[in-house]
């Protein structure tokens, strides 16, 4: 099977000397196209750092990351951003909704940045599934935490990226909505042959993944 994500010797260190923190300490990881992988680990184990590195949101101290045939380190800042915008969808733990844009504008924002026309039929399908159809004109500040989470998920799915990186996507959702969201992610991953890498604390949700990767102290201890 084709490898879509490949990390080799990935390290991320902060500080130096006594204050040196090894957030990632030599990660080797390969994820195949169309797979659904869950990353689990204790708080501070390096899960979010790994996700940021895989998505090109941060630069590793050492090691390389390859997305498809593209080596992220070889792209300049501008190219890396455009590549990420087209290929990767993010679901952030703190949602990262743009406060000055309403729900619809937030969902299509990455597509707008890219200068493309949004696939309205598909996006409305996602919106309905996430129960956001009555909230499209609302501003993020007027939404509950769960609603904001769903907007962030809709935004990640809207551009039909080949990879979705999700940091605790169901953290603020009730059980039923969580199941629906994971179902949606799995469905779209199948339909569009998308790869999903998800951080979660919920072992039940993790069990729904094709593969579980456990991280401790910046290292993969089991997969």
């Amino acid at each position: 099977m084709e490898t879509i994500l490949k990390a080799t010797g990935l390290k991320k260190y902060y500080g130096k000397g006594e204050t040196l923190v090894k957030a990632l300490d030599g990660i080797d990881l390969e994820i195949e196209r169309g797979k659904f992988a869950a990353i689990i680990g204790t708080s501070g184990s390096g899960k979010s750092t790994l996700l940021n590195m895989l998505g090109g949101l941060d630069i590793p101290s050492e090691g390389s990351i390859k997305v498809g045939n593209t080596e992220l380190a070889k792209l300049n800042s501008e190219q890396a951003t455009i590549f990420r915008r087209k290929q990767i969808g993010f679901i952030f733990q703190n949602y990262n909704l743009v406060p000055v844009l309403n729900v619809w504008e937030n969902i299509i924002f990455p597509i707008t940045l890219d200068g493309r026309k949004p696939d309205k039929t598909f996006i409305m399908q996602v919106v309905r599934l996430l129960g956001l159809e009555k909230k499209l004109d609302s501003l993020p500040n007027n939404l509950s935490g769960g609603q904001q989470q769903r907007v962030a998920i809709a935004r990640a799915l809207a551009s039909k990226p080949s990879i979705i990186l999700a940091d605790e996507p169901t953290g603020n959702l009730d059980t039923k909505t969580s199941d629906d969201v994971i179902g949606l992610l799995k469905m779209t991953s199948k339909e569009f042959n998308q790869t999903i890498v998800m951080i979660t604390h919920n072992s039940e949700i993790a069990q729904m993944a094709d593969r579980i990767i456990r991280i401790e102290d910046g290292r993969i201890v089991a997969q």
Partner: protein
């Protein structure tokens, strides 16, 4: 694949940012408005100062025309007008020149009325009108004063004049109008009607008569001398004289630009401070902005789009600030220009108004704003989203903990003040520092100008009443005038406000020097002045003076200027004219047998010496002493024959015995300061209603003028400093607001853990005081050092004789007070807003 950036989305985000972040953007627009206002103000003022200097040169030149061709025939004038480079012309027909000896050094043309030409030489009557009828004449005020002509329309006037062929006449006219010329005008016209001119000098319109002066304006007013010559050459005219306007002279233009440079250079200060302050407001003071941009970057906004977003934000802020900035800047300029630029008949603020400063101000503001956005733009576009988030994270330095682990409010406040946002505090303090230094600089310059020093030299007494013929230094005092009469003196002495009236009379008399005196004076002026020339040779530029000395040398004849003085005038002489022989004896001087002889203001005796005698109008006087004559107390000038003279000073009572019919040249009046207002009302009435041929100089006017000039000197810098201080305070307040509001969650935590409202207020109060102290520590030493160490040199560099450096920290105390007030009150006001709502709501708050 790696292209296709949508830049339109940036505009949408900018619009939304303005919609949702009113406060931040209002502060930014306000700061931009102030920056635009400052640029507009300094550029408009600089342009006006330059314009005023050029206008001054035009006044000195005597015409607003660019080229004056003189002594043309009418035919030559017609040919010049046809040249393609000529834009417009004004024409003057002169029949001759006034030659009354009382005219002094002034040259007045007798010319045919021409309104257009009169306008270009600023000689349009303000009372009465230009002549229309036969024998009517319109004159300027100085000519009338010199000739003793009363200010009454219809007054018969007899004038001595010489026609273009050199024939002298005495002609009778009727006064039909007058105007007040600028004091620097040395040339003027006396207007008569064309019929009168035809009657007086019929040949002035002959083809061969060179009676025409042609004022020419060009399409391209550059290289005037060259163009003037080229026009003559192209039109085939030779032997014609021309002069070009000083205002268009390259050197004069450069001089005018130099005068305006101090004002233009203020724009550099505006740019530096404006950049710093707007930079502070834009990004340093708004932590949440960084998180906002981090989110945008993580969603796929490229560095190019980030740059575009910030660029558009900067442009939007600039454009919104332009119009109110222009209005405010123009308002400031309107008020200040009217104070600073004097001597322009029309409103100087409007007279020199141009659209260019507004455009320049807008461009400079745009550059300033974009420079302010430059650093954040570069910083943001080079960071990854995670780095951007990390840059917004506050890292507290390690603190010493008390042994039992307890923490007090003071400790907590100290950590918040000194442990967080040091960079923001330093940058905001830097902007406050710049403003404080500028204000201190302007203030110290202001207080270093000493009014008492200035007045003691310029106006030793409260008021001077001067005969109208002796008001200007170029006017010859007319000894026949009776402007200031005995009645006036008595009336003044009777006034309850008056403490003393001192009088001065003068009379030129023909005298003969003894051989000894003649030789002494000749030897005196033949002494070396320096290694290159004698004293006499230094006066080579004054032919009338040289002729007087030669006359003395050859015949012993010279002009004696007999001056009768008393009171303040005598005291002035004793205080300011050092004795070269003898000394002053009050009783001897008052006895009427003695006089003081006054000569050149240089060491050595250039007059009769102590014990010698002089015969004045048949009476013999002994010289009490000789002095170096400081003639600063005498108004006007004397006849050309008296260019070289020896002064004999005696009491007025004795002068009156010698010349009983002689009127007063000038009076010095001292009054009770408490009654100044009523005395000024009396003088106004005296000046306006009764005696236009008597000029009044008031110490209060000098004091007012000094105050105005002193304020004007520092005003542009002070205004810039105050506005920059305003921006710095906005920035400082913004930091305090952000610092408090961004801690909504933190305060909620404190409260949830049991901190009472009073404790919270105490914490905020302590933080405010500590923040103010931190600013003080950075501000005070620098401002004191600048005021004590740098300002003496700055004051010295002004190079004025009435400045003495004075140390003052008054502005600093004002600045510190404002800072303390803001540091204490702003967080308190913010606290009221952020402690609204339940604790649960506030603890859930995430920006």
């Amino acid at each position: 694949m790696l292209a296709n950036n949508n830049l339109k989305v940036c505009r949408t985000l900018v619009k939304r940012d303005f919609k949702f972040h009113h406060n931040k953007n209002c502060i930014l627009v306000a700061a931009t408005m102030l920056v635009t206002a400052l640029y507009t103000f300094v550029f408009l003022l600089g342009g006006s100062i330059k314009g005023a200097f050029l206008l001054n040169y035009q006044y000195t030149y005597g015409s607003t025309s660019q080229i004056l061709y003189t002594e043309l025939t009418n035919q030559q004038a017609d040919i010049i007008i046809e040249n393609v480079n000529v834009k417009n012309t004004v024409r003057l027909n002169t029949i001759g020149q006034l030659t009354d000896p009382m005219m002094g050094q002034r040259l007045v043309k007798l010319a045919v009325t021409n309104y257009a030409y009169a306008e270009t030489v600023l000689s349009v009557p303000t009372t009465g009108s230009l002549p229309k009828n036969d024998n009517e004449i319109a004159l300027d005020g100085f000519t009338m004063n010199s000739l003793g002509i009363p200010y009454e329309l219809g007054t018969p006037v007899t004038l001595l004049w010489t026609d273009l062929e050199g024939n002298a006449y005495a002609s009778d006219f009727t006064l039909c109008g007058w105007w007040t010329s600028s004091t620097i005008f040395t040339e003027a016209c006396a207007w008569i009607a064309a019929d009168t001119a035809q009657k007086l000098f019929p040949s002035y319109q002959d083809k061969s008569s060179h009676s025409v002066t042609l004022g020419v304006n060009l399409h391209q007013p550059k290289n005037l001398d060259q163009q003037a010559a080229t026009i003559l050459e192209e039109q085939g005219i030779t032997g014609v004289n021309f002069t070009t306007n000083l205002a268009y002279n390259k050197v004069r233009q450069e001089q005018a630009m130099q005068k305006a440079m101090p004002f233009y250079s203020l724009s550099i200060v505006v740019m530096l401070c404006g950049c710093l302050m707007i930079y502070c407001i834009v990004h340093v003071a708004a932590q949440q902005d960084t998180l906002y941009y981090a989110a945008l970057k993580s969603l796929g906004m490229t560095p190019r789009q980030i740059r575009r977003l910030l660029l558009e934000q900067g442009c939007a802020i600039s454009f919104l600030g332009f119009f109110p900035g222009w209005v405010l800047g123009f308002g400031l300029y309107f008020v200040i220009a009217n104070r600073m630029i004097l001597g322009v008949e029309k409103n100087p603020a409007l007279y020199f108004l141009s659209w260019l400063p507004f455009i320049a101000a807008a461009l400079c503001t745009l550059v300033t704003i974009l420079l302010s956005y430059l650093i954040p733009t570069i910083r943001l576009s080079h960071m990854t989203p995670v780095q951007t988030v990390r840059s917004a994270t506050i890292y507290l330095p390690r603190h010493r903990y008390s042994s039992d682990g307890r923490i007090t409010l003071v400790n907590l406040a100290l950590r918040t003040t000194f442990g967080r946002n040091q960079w923001r505090t330093i940058v905001s303090t830097l902007s406050l520092l710049l403003a404080a230094v500028l204000i201190s600089s302007a203030w110290i310059q202001y207080v270093s100008f000493r009014e008492d020093m200035y007045l003691s030299i310029i106006s030793p007494w409260d008021y001077s009443l001067i005969d109208g013929s002796a008001y200007l230094s170029v006017q010859r005092y007319n000894e026949s005038n009776y402007g200031i009469t005995e009645k006036t003196v008595k009336e003044l002495q009777m006034r309850p406000e008056v403490i003393a009236v001192s009088t001065l009379k003068s009379r030129e008399v023909e005298l003969n020097a003894s051989d000894e005196l003649r030789q002494r004076i000749v030897d005196y002026y033949n002494q070396p002045y320096d290694e290159t020339m004698t004293r006499k040779e230094t006066q080579a530029g004054y032919p009338d003076w040289c002729a007087g000395v030669e006359r003395l040398e050859q015949s012993g004849e010279y002009i004696g200027l007999v001056i009768g003085v008393n009171g303040a005038y005598l005291q002035y002489i004793l205080d300011n004219c050092p004795f070269t022989s003898g000394s002053f004896d009050d009783k001897a001087f008052a006895s009427g047998n003695y006089v003081l002889a006054a000569g050149a203001y240089s060491k050595g005796i250039s007059t009769p010496a102590e014990g010698e005698t002089v015969e004045l109008n048949g009476c013999t006087y002994t010289i009490l002493g000789s002095v170096m004559n400081d003639e600063g107390y005498i108004s006007g000038t004397n006849s050309t024959q008296a260019a070289f003279h020896i002064v004999y000073i005696l009491p007025v009572a004795q002068f009156d015995l010698l010349f009983p019919e002689q009127a007063y040249r000038q009076l010095a009046i001292d009054i009770d300061p408490a009654q100044q207002d009523t005395f000024e009302i009396y003088l106004d009435y005296y000046e306006q209603e009764q005696n236009q041929d008597v000029k009044i100089m008031r110490r209060s006017e000098y004091a007012t003028n000094f105050d105005v000039a002193r304020l004007n000197m520092v005003l542009p810098k002070l205004i810039v400093a105050l506005v920059l201080f305003g921006i710095a305070l906005i920035n400082f307040a913004n930091i305090l607001v952000i610092k408090t509001i961004s801690r909504k969650w933190e305060f909620a935590i404190y409260e949830s853990l049991g901190m009472t409202n009073i404790q919270l207020r105490c914490l905020i109060l302590l933080e405010g005081i500590f923040h103010a102290i931190l600013v003080f520590v950075l501000l005070v030493p620098v401002v004191i050092f600048f005021s004590a160490a740098v300002m003496p040199a700055v004051v010295e560099a002004i190079g004025s004789w009435c400045t003495v450096y004075r140390f003052s920290l008054l502005p600093l105390w004002g600045v510190l007070l404002m800072i303390l007030l803001l540091a204490v009150t702003v967080p308190f006001i913010c606290l009221r807003f952020i402690t609204k709502g339940s604790l649960t709501e506030r603890m859930r708050y995430i920006e």
